[in-house]
Symmetry: C2
Subunit: 346 residues, 2 copies
């Protein structure tokens, strides 16, 4: 069962319309990037009837304080008040940053998420984690706040380039690996291109939401959602600084999941056959990122900046078996180096 | 009765020591300005044993995003983690901004307030309102988060210039006017210089905390704490842009309280005798700010940027009688202009 604030439908306009009919906002701004303005806004413009459209440039490298200043300034210049609303129409960057701006503008105005990418539908838009990157570190500045509503419609996925869709699929894989062995069998039997997206979105939102409800502020069990993300974030941060080889979030997480599957085998008794099947399916779907020895040193260092680092020991969320995960497994730096080497030369 | 997180003592080092003995932080940074580093840090350095000292320049005009970037950067460069602590040692600027930085650094680390000014002891350090100024608007970007502890010791008040002490006294007056007629009689019978500070701090913290506990997110009754602040903040913002005439927060609030006392007389039947006695005592204590006709226009406009503005009508918190206040009294712009004129030419 999903909570009241998350609505999934194949015709979300009806739900959005009902929400606005029952609301009393004095102003409604929609936050978009150049892509969602072109491909997604036309699908919902009529029911949102925005007072203002705030457009920012797309891309993770724009998820910065400078962009927040632009958003806060537009809200201020247009006299947005506590009774105003911000609608985040886009992927994870729009949702995380727009949510952070709303949650901190005049100490908090309402916001609504309409996630338009697979990644944001199954992950970023659920659970209230908001934030921006800072000094190259992912989500380094942020807060927790739930949106008033999350409206999910898989028809937006048709507006996505295949590479973006594949990136979001990494989080789908993660949700199966940490919590649902049966659903892992279903998706890993099918090629990425032939997946049943409406089904997958429903399933993934339910898994994520259940975990988040049990532990909203990540004091304990919510940490299992970090599987693949400790090394994955470090890889993502590292390649973010490089112009020549841009990685999408899910591509970095896919690599992170392979590395952390190796750690699961070594430290949590994940059976060798499971390690192999996870490694194979992810490699088939995502390929392998080229990582040099020099890269490995830098990525290992970046892992120390992870939020789950306590006194130099990095806490991982790992798999005991497929569908069964544990958190707070303390791992030392040299072990991280080792699995990155294994990933680079399998 | 005060909640567990607020401790008031004439020898606060003992309490601070007990707190650290029972805690397990990997690092402790103390945020100070040049004044609190010199006058206050020596009084508590031994019990805090800070890992790092972060010094920022004093003054409301430094309560900006740029200063936050400096604080976040120092925490990042020194590898502060979720198990680290920030201690805010100073007045309202240090508490509001340090709290905001802690609450958003890696989505929130613990912070402790040691307020060193009267203003921050009786007001800013209590209640979890955090924030910074933005585009000249007071506390325009911020959030709500409670400190782990607030340690209050009136011996810090001896380090204050008289003008600072007087500024904080404005909030003491406000607490009496909105909630305690008897205590208003006690303080208004005595000259500012002869007040009993330990008693006053205790009383004011209790009043503020009681209001905040009933309504932590300012959905309703907490708004009464805004008495004097709607016009007061506009006056403060206006003079913040001017170099020649710097106002302290309490000086602006004192003027705001006189203006809003006039409004209380006109719209809430506050008796004429009470209007006079409030006006007289505040004028005796704070004098009168010089405000020109041109200033009045600008200050009136600034009131529209107030967080309590809904669709152009500004919601005030006003007095029905001394010790008895109401909120959400909708007032139009021209009424604000009128009381400012009355203030300027009494």
């Amino acid at each position: 069962m999903l909570p009241e604030e998350i609505e999934i439908s194949q015709n979300i306009s009806v739900n959005i319309q009902a929400f606005f009919n029952a609301s009393d906002y004095d102003k409604v701004a929609v936050l978009v990037d150049e892509n969602t303005r072109l491909h997604c806004l036309p699908l919902v413009h009529k029911v949102i009837k925005p007072t203002d459209i705030i457009e920012i440039e797309s891309g993770e490298e724009k998820k910065t304080l400078d962009t927040c200043v632009r958003i806060w300034r537009e809200l201020t210049d247009n006299h947005y008040e506590r009774k105003s609303l911000l609608v985040n129409l886009g992927g994870g960057v729009i949702g995380d940053m727009g949510g952070f701006c709303a949650a901190t503008y005049k100490r908090g105005i309402d916001f609504v998420n309409i996630p338009t990418t697979l990644l944001s539908q199954v992950d970023a838009s659920i659970g209230g984690k908001l934030g921006i990157d800072f000094l190259g570190f992912k989500n380094h500045i942020g807060t927790f706040e739930l949106p008033r509503k999350v409206f999910i419609d898989t028809k937006f996925l048709k507006t996505l380039p295949e590479r973006e869709l594949r990136s979001g699929f990494a989080e789908v894989i993660k949700h199966c690996l940490i919590a649902d062995k049966d659903y892992w069998k279903i998706i890993s039997d099918v090629d990425f291109k032939d997946q049943n997206w409406p089904d997958i979105v429903n399933h993934s939102v339910e898994v994520k939401n259940k975990v988040v409800e049990e532990d909203p502020f990540e004091k304990g069990r919510r940490k299992i959602l970090n599987f693949g993300h400790t090394i994955g974030h470090a890889i993502e941060s590292y390649f973010l600084q490089m112009d020549e080889q841009r990685l999408l979030h899910g591509e970095a997480i896919a690599a992170g999941m392979i590395c952390e599957t190796y750690l699961s085998g070594k430290f949590c008794n994940l059976p060798e056959s499971s390690v192999k099947s996870i490694e194979n399916y992810i490699t088939e779907t995502f390929g392998r990122i080229r990582i040099s020895l020099e890269d490995i040193e830098e990525i290992t260092k970046l892992c120390l900046q992870d939020k789950k680092n306590v006194k130099g020991i990095i806490n991982f969320s790992l798999l005991k078996e497929i569908g069964n995960s544990v958190f707070n497994v303390g791992i030392e730096q040299n072990e991280i180096r080792e699995v990155l080497q294994l990933y680079a030369r399998p």
